[in-house]
Symmetry: C2
Subunit: 359 residues, 2 copies
């Protein structure tokens, strides 16, 4: 196992070489660490800002051995890291943070909601279904419309269907592949919020102000942070975050998506055991951003401050929108963050911008 | 020649792989660029955060060819880039920014002072000397004590000697190697200041607030910025910076070291045609720091804002001082920047910290 706190000059491994890995890698470099990226794709964006890159499938033993030979601590940029990879790394004496419990809970929507409710973090009503008949029964029990989601995989609105009538549930079940699903009652939320929180190796926590989020077609379009919220709502979010972090014995940064209900309650929509798109505002709105915070946590360093120093509107640049880089670069209040992706496929996250305003 | 403005996805070359190159490289990555570092040393700090590294002497044709094959624009992190390298790159169709005039002026203290005075940027009185006899005569003319400096090379207080009496000038001349020197009258300054300024491809300029600097043994120890100065002094610094930038037809960030005299005049001590240690405060005190600003300028992008958002005390971490990283990491107001250098030789710049205060 690594000697913690990890000293500058040591190497941190990151599973996944996309934009989150890239921004984690440059944060790690600023603290004096070397970084090794493992990603199945050559020329991954994060590899181009890291000391080492290993091109291998996430569960390929040779790749993991090469990773273990370089890195004393490993983290990841996406929650669908194969459990087998984490287990293999553990056998080689390399700790993965956030740990296996966080991954297991985040990889299965049924486990996730069950865990959340068991730890005092309320969610919408839900029911699992492994057959078309069970899906119909679940919608009847929850009431239509209900949201059907595959239990595993799925992100940015993929792997989910609205079911308008119980009778449609069997078809939706088939359309989602016929595997285990979860049905969720419709949440009559007034606003989508999220909280980015961190927990250190010593159990200390650091929680950023809430972000207000706007999605389009299931993909985050825009965040505004700190969100305008009553103190009681902020307290509620902090309590929820603290319970989740403690319940997972968590190490690192976590993204917690919330529904604000008309009656003032917050429900947890989902959790992501990693740095989160709705936390990008911290790059230009806080002294220590979510990327450095995550590196600090997994390296066993003390956590940094989370108070806001500016109000930020974060806008994702999807596909060809990033072609407008010159216009954005000319806006005095706009900080541009581009990911170095080669191919601007429609809807692909190519970058984001933070428009910075006074608090 | 490169199509400017340089589009994200293009590659920027940097001559020199130390800490300045490293911080330039991560700034370039944030804007979506790839970076190639050319440095004679393997495992250079900047190479570990860049897409490509070429290990070669700065004037080795093969290395420069490899650089030209990758990069459409090349910049540098140190002013002693061989003129021959810049000329070779130009022949291969690769532009180097800042350009040859800035390099020539910055590489020779006599050219530098002559240029400055010719462009309305006052300096201390000075005289060149190519022989011991001329050195004695120069000290007699300027008055003792006078500061003898080699005309070329020399940084962080290296390559210079105080001459207390004209009679000592011949010995000092020999100690400095017997090559061409420049003698400078002692500057009875009350404070050392510097101004970090930038000029874009379109001639637009952007000037950061002044920094107040404290040196020890010729090496920068501490900067405080924005420095507390009267508006007239800030105006004077801006005028000097604007004249230098225009006179050099400059592209990029420049560091201009100033002496504040008792009578309120500013004299230019020296200029560095690159990002500058006294500008590190901008990383945590401005929305666009000197590194991104330099990349914007050399890439032909519009310059970013330079107004301060915080007051910063920058402290260099020399040699073993960087071993205290854990203590610094625990200070809420301290942002730590470590360079990833392997060997903490005494006096070596291993990192810096920015202590952030309200404006």
């Amino acid at each position: 196992m690594a000697d913690l706190p990890l000293a500058p000059g040591e190497t941190i491994g990151i599973l996944g070489g996309g934009q989150l890995g890239r921004m984690l890698a440059t944060a790690a470099a600023r603290l004096g660490f070397d970084v090794v990226i493992l990603d199945p794709e050559p020329d991954a964006p994060a590899g181009r800002v890291s000391a080492h890159t290993i091109v291998a499938a996430y569960d390929e033993p040779q790749g993991l051995q090469a990773l273990a030979a370089l890195a004393s601590v490993v983290t990841y940029e996406f929650e669908n890291v194969p459990a087998a990879a984490v287990a293999q790394l553990a056998e080689m004496g390399v700790e993965v943070a956030p740990g296996p419990l966080a991954l297991r809970v985040a990889q299965d929507r049924l486990e996730e909601k069950t865990f959340l409710n068991a730890h005092g973090a309320p969610t919408v009503a839900f029911a699992p279904a492994d057959t078309p008949e069970a899906a119909v029964a679940a919608v009847e029990a929850l009431g239509a419309p209900a949201l059907m989601k595959t239990r595993r995989e799925g992100y940015d609105g993929k792997g989910q269907r609205w079911v308008e009538h119980a009778a449609d549930a069997a078809r939706a079940f088939a359309e989602l592949g016929g595997g285990p699903v979860i049905l969720e009652a419709a949440a009559a939320f007034v606003r989508e919020l999220s909280v980015i929180a961190a927990r250190g190796r010593d159990g200390a926590t650091a929680i950023y102000p809430l972000s207000e989020n706007h999605h389009e077609n299931g993909v985050l379009r825009r965040s505004i942070a700190p969100a305008q919220v009553a103190p009681a709502l902020a307290d509620q979010a902090e309590r929820i975050a603290a319970r989740i972090l403690a319940g997972l014995d968590y190490v690192g940064v976590i993204g917690i998506e919330l529904f604000e209900m008309a009656d003032g309650r917050l429900l947890v929509n989902e959790i992501a055991p990693r740095v989160h798109n709705t936390g990008h505002w911290t790059q230009d709105g806080c002294e220590v951003d979510q990327f450095e915070q995550h590196i600090r946590a997994v390296a066993g360093w003390p956590l940094g401050p989370t108070h806001p120093v500016a109000r930020v509107e974060m806008l994702n640049l999807l596909g060809a929108e990033a072609d407008d880089w010159l216009r954005y670069a000319a806006e005095p209040e706009t900080r541009l963050h581009l990911y170095g992706k080669r191919d601007a496929k429609p809807g692909r996250k190519m970058g984001h911008l933070n428009r910075v305003k006074g608090l």
